[in-house]
């Protein structure tokens, strides 16, 4: 059976919460039931049928034809199936995702993959700030799964990450990997200033260096580690280019010594 397709009728007049349109929530629902799902975030009622033209199909495979930066919480809490978005999404895409696959063919707003537990998210464009990060008041960000951002990511990518993998093929804003608890953040482009700010454990790859490295990181020299070839093999299917360029010796910086200092930043052997 073909995918369940939501075709955007018109620009949404308000921010919409699309967390209800996941395979978990739509499985077994009729077209009329789906059309009646409320998506509004203001007092003006807006149902799925008002915003989208719906073409019924396999609910395990959902496709949004057209996106918008007001599309919030796309794929939030999803645990299975697949969501493809042809267009941009708003805040918290894939928030607390537990499994399945979310593919965004466009840009994502802040807090993409926030608190994600498992599954994969790919963003073909740029991601806003705090990819994988926690919301205000939460102590832990992303705790599993894989996020691939083909473009750039905003500030604090991987904030308070606990486990899992984030690959940013472009650049990041300031403080990538801030307050990391564990997990792996790979930045192929230039990492923003002060990577790993207050990180306790975890690994950051600043493959093209960073504008400023905190003096609370110490240099442990250049190493060709087996662990990095295991990582390269693992990410092959997510980002072949990054995998290929990962297989070489890297300078290992240890920190952040301002906290427990068990984290690491891998960067080019000659820091500029």
């Amino acid at each position: 059976m073909s995918a369940l397709i939501f075709t955007l009728r018109d620009t949404p007049s308000q921010r919409v919460d699309l967390a209800a349109l996941t395979p978990d929530r739509l499985l077994g629902l009729s077209e009329s039931k789906i059309a009646a799902i409320e998506l509004q975030t203001t007092r003006v009622r807006l149902c799925a049928g008002d915003l989208f033209k719906i073409r019924m199909g396999e609910a395990m495979q959902i496709r949004f034809e057209g996106g918008h930066e007001r599309f919030d919480r796309v794929g939030a809490n999803m645990s299975k199936g697949e969501i493809n978005v042809a267009g941009d999404v708003g805040i918290q895409a894939g928030r607390l995702m537990q499994g399945g696959r979310l593919a965004i063919d466009g840009n994502a707003g802040p807090w993409a993959a926030s608190g994600m537990k498992a599954g994969t998210i790919s963003i073909s464009g740029h991601a806003g700030e705090r990819v994988g990060g926690p919301l205000a008041g939460e102590t832990v960000g992303m705790r599993g799964g894989v996020v691939v951002v083909r473009g750039d990511a905003g500030a604090r990518a991987g904030d308070r990450m606990r486990r899992g993998l984030i690959i940013v093929e472009g650049r990041t804003g300031i403080h990538p990997g801030s307050r990391m608890i564990a997990g792996t953040l790979i930045v192929r482009g230039r990492a923003g200033p002060l990577p790993g700010y207050l990180m306790s454990r975890g690994s950051i790859f600043a493959m093209n260096g960073s504008d400023a490295v905190s003096p609370t990181f110490t240099d442990s020299g250049v190493h060709d580690l087996v662990a990095n070839s295991l990582l390269a093999s693992y990410i092959q299917k997510y980002s072949a280019d990054v995998a290929a360029s990962l297989r070489r010796p890297w300078r290992r910086l240890i920190g952040d010594m301002a906290v427990i200092g068990k984290g690491e930043i891998f960067c080019p052997s000659v820091l500029d």
């Binding site: 599993g144 486990r163 899992g164 993998l165 564990a182 792996t184 454990r201 690994s203 190493h223 060709d224 580690l225 087996v226 662990a227 070839s229 295991l230 990582l231 093999s233 693992y234 068990k262 690491e264």
Partner: protein, 302 residues
């Protein structure tokens, strides 16, 4: 004992009796095939028999770089013991003392199973707080800082409860040389069979044992009925033309693998013929009441 004769070699109408064992497999890698082999040889040393070594271990086969998790040359090792707790103890001690210490080594679980043994989860404490945990998809690794860089290993390895230990072939010949030649041919043939190891030196045991002894507290003693110097004492199982006896003991991850290994070994001996090789083949058993796995030689003939 009734016998068949195949290609001029007498084959006893008997069976090998084998036992259920707990087993695991490991993939050991290093910067070169030689160092991977060294780590594997060291780890599987003094592991010929559970009677005195705690476990039986050996090399299954060499692995090409494209067959290992880290893309380096490797060796697949199998480890067998009589209980899960003993296997866990042997695994931990042997990997900790022999693989962790070997230059450039890494060690990965080599068996997928529902139940698991601790590997890195036990060895990580060597890191004294500097160890790093990494989960890549379903696999959990530990990175332990060591003096040449890092020792990487998986957190666990699979535990098989359906492994088989004690498959065997008894090879008898007219001289020490021809008997050894025939047995060596069998060992070479079995090396190509996956999922089995031959735990004795070079795959061959020259001092097969029987259960018990005339002496109190001795659990195993020489298999006197197969000792050529004791021919004529009344209990000997040897014919007048036999002057030397060697035994191949086989442990496998599955009963089918043990049967396949015995088949390969028996075929190789029969192919060599009686002039240059063995005059007679037999197998060891305890009357069939102790071990659940019986491998009849007549079922393994070409």
């Amino acid at each position: 004992m009734s016998q068949l004769t195949v290609n001029g070699i007498r084959v006893d109408d008997t069976f090998a009796e084998a036992f259920g064992m707990r087993a695991t497999a490991l993939t050991i890698t290093a910067n070169s095939a030689a160092w991977a082999h060294q780590a594997a040889v060291t780890m599987t040393g003094f592991a010929t028999s559970v009677i005195g070594c705690g476990c039986e271990a050996g090399i299954d086969r060499s692995l090409n770089p494209d067959e290992t998790p880290d893309g380096r040359p490797g060796v697949r090792v199998l480890l067998f013991a009589v209980s899960t707790s003993e296997l866990q103890k042997q695994l931990q001690n042997r990997v900790g003392q022999c693989v962790l210490t070997s230059p450039g080594s890494a060690c990965y679980g080599g068996l997928e199973a529902d139940e698991e043994l601790k590997l890195g989860n036990a060895l990580r404490f060597f890191g004294d707080g500097w160890q790093v945990s990494k989960r890549l998809g379903p696999t959990h690794y530990w990175r332990i800082p060591v003096m040449d860089g890092e020792f990487v290993c998986t957190a666990t390895t699979g535990l098989s409860k359906t492994a088989v230990g004690g498959g065997n072939i008894i090879v008898m010949g007219a001289s020490v040389e021809t008997t050894l030649t025939a047995t060596e041919r069998a060992v070479e043939a079995i090396a190509a069979v996956p999922d089995v190891i031959l735990p004795f030196p070079g795959g061959i045991a020259r001092s097969g044992s029987k259960v018990g002894s005339k002496y109190k507290g001795v659990v195993a003693s020489t298999n006197d009925v197969y000792c050529p110097t004791l021919k004529g004492t009344g209990r000997s199982a040897l014919d007048r033309d036999i002057a030397s006896v060697l035994e191949i003991v086989i442990d496998g991850l599955t009963s089918a693998a043990v049967a396949e290994a015995m088949r390969a070994g028996v075929h190789a001996i029969l192919l060599l013929g009686p002039e240059r090789g063995a005059l007679r083949i037999s197998a060891g058993n305890y009357g069939g009441k102790l071990g659940p796995h019986h491998y009849y030689l007549k079922d393994l003939l070409p």
